[in-house]
């Protein structure tokens, strides 16, 4: 039968950022995601957890992969999914975001998945709507992208098992990257002892919320003996001026075959996508055996299913 006597209750109302999540909760998300990887291999991939619930994708900024994986995740949980095309919606008619969200709540939306170019918008919405509704931040400006941070850490767990012995290098434009911020927070909570930030000096922030990180300004030094290489996309849309040319960037910080050899033999190569072949990563490396880029996409669905399940369920007991 169900329910063991030692019941642990962890409530999750919204997922706005990784900061503040407990290690226990993150592990619970991973364990649940594992079960969804299994259900995704069945003939019928759907489970009825969100039957009768409505998930609303509000993407104020373009996205293909994240929006699609959220949509697939919600549908695999049997939810109804609404994708709002913001450019053709009432936003363009001057309606405020809160009014717009409240209208959708009046239409019975239960979970909002929100992406916005401005940092803090998902939190602002979460703070100003009915408490029965849940918000998932799907990326806000250069602030946070918590589901990406979780799925990247989950991918590492799938290949490396123990976080507490890893050297992880995050390479590229850390300064403008919400993905890097969320990855760093997740890895830090999970106990990764060495997080290296590798990139041009002007794109490496001085401080990551007090988390101990090591800056490296050359690939040769930064990738030495690492277990995981996490590449980032050059965020041209979030930079004002001072952008290195593609050629210049690839020459200094693009990942090629020769550089991969500096890392440990069994190092895995990750990228949150979309990848710019020939800018951050050589094609041959992106398609190599060490690359787990496509696994990240698959695992992303399971992680998003786990997060939505945890938001809707009253508590998580073990």
């Amino acid at each position: 039968m169900n329910n063991s006597p030692s019941k642990k209750i962890i409530n999750l109302q919204h997922l706005l950022e990784i900061e503040g999540l407990s290690k226990d909760l993150i592990i619970k998300v991973f364990d649940m995601a594992e079960t969804f990887l299994k259900t995704s291999q069945r003939d019928v991939r759907n489970v009825p957890i969100l039957r009768g619930k409505t998930v609303c994708n509000l993407f104020f900024e373009n996205s293909t992969r994240t929006r699609t994986t959220f949509e697939i995740a919600a549908k695999r949980l049997s939810a109804d999914v609404i994708n709002l095309d913001i450019s053709s919606s009432s936003q363009s008619k001057g309606e405020s975001i809160i009014d717009m969200v409240n209208n959708l709540i009046a239409m019975s939306a239960d979970i909002f998945v929100i992406r916005h170019s401005k940092p803090g918008i998902p939190k602002f919405i979460a703070d100003n709507i009915d408490k029965s509704v849940h918000v998932i931040n799907a990326g806000d400006g250069n602030n946070a992208h918590p589901t990406q941070g979780l799925l990247d850490a989950f991918t590492i767990r799938k290949y490396k098992k123990k976080f507490t012995k890893l050297k992880v290098a995050i390479v590229g434009d850390i300064l403008h990257s919400r993905v890097a911020r969320s990855e760093i927070q997740a890895l830090s909570i999970l106990g990764v002892p060495e997080i290296r930030l590798v990139g041009p000096e002007e794109l490496i922030p001085k401080d990551i919320g007090g988390i101990k990180v090591k800056p490296y300004f050359t690939m040769e030094e930064g990738l030495k003996d690492v277990d995981v290489i996490m590449m980032l996309r050059l965020q041209k849309e979030r930079m004002d001026g001072g952008i290195p040319t593609k050629e210049e960037y690839f020459k200094n910080f693009g990942l090629n075959k020769k550089l991969v050899k500096i890392a440990k033999k069994d190092a895995i190569i990750m990228h949150p996508g979309p990848i710019n072949r020939g800018v951050e990563i050589e094609s041959e490396v992106a398609d190599s055996k060490q690359s787990v880029i496509l696994s990240q996409v698959t695992y992303g669905i399971a992680i998003r299913m786990a997060i939505m399940t945890m938001l809707i369920g009253k508590n998580i007991s073990n």
Partner: protein, 165 residues
């Protein structure tokens, strides 16, 4: 109230189950009690048939009340159940809700020819039109408590705990 020895009940279940088993039969346990029983039956029956587990966490009807738990043992059915005779195994039959969830989940794996339910104890308090096909013991004397089959260092016993847990 004293409940019978679980090993005796499993023995009764085995006597009954072997009459039903043919090449198309598979046994699927509902953790955790059903899994313990399955392990015992496996020792007696051997590996001539398929065994699986079905964890109903994602199919329950009380997610809004109880939330979703992640169990150590999750569903594991690594064979085709289409056209098969599935025997669901659980320790205790109580309201019928777990079995309802298990049947729903089974149909997401395929279309079995027949599903039957074997339990050690039938509490005779079903809240749905579902009843076990076989029960080794019937009781309706325990009212406000759960009964679970547990395994402690190879020894099987029934544990009684309050419904509020």
């Amino acid at each position: 109230m004293l409940l019978p020895n679980p090993q005796d009940l499993i023995g009764l279940m085995h006597n009954h189950i072997i009459k039903e088993i043919d090449d198309d039969t598979c046994l699927i346990g509902i953790p955790s009690g059903g899994e313990i029983i399955l392990e015992e039956l496996k020792k007696k029956i051997g590996n001539t048939i398929n065994y699986g587990l079905i964890d109903t966490s994602y199919y329950r009807d009380d997610l809004d009340i109880s939330g979703v738990s992640v169990k150590e043992k999750t569903t594991s059915i690594d064979f085709n159940i289409n056209g098969k005779k599935v025997i669901l195994i659980d320790d205790v039959f109580y309201t019928g809700r777990t079995v309802r969830a298990a049947i729903n989940e089974l149909f997401d794996f395929g279309r079995p020819k027949k599903i039957s339910l074997y339990v050690l104890i039938d509490r005779q308090e079903n809240e749905l039109p579902i009843k076990p096909d076989f029960s080794a013991h019937k009781t309706n004397e325990i009212k406000s408590e759960y009964i679970d089959l547990i395994k402690n260092k190879k020894e099987l016993r029934f544990k009684i705990r309050p419904l509020s847990e």
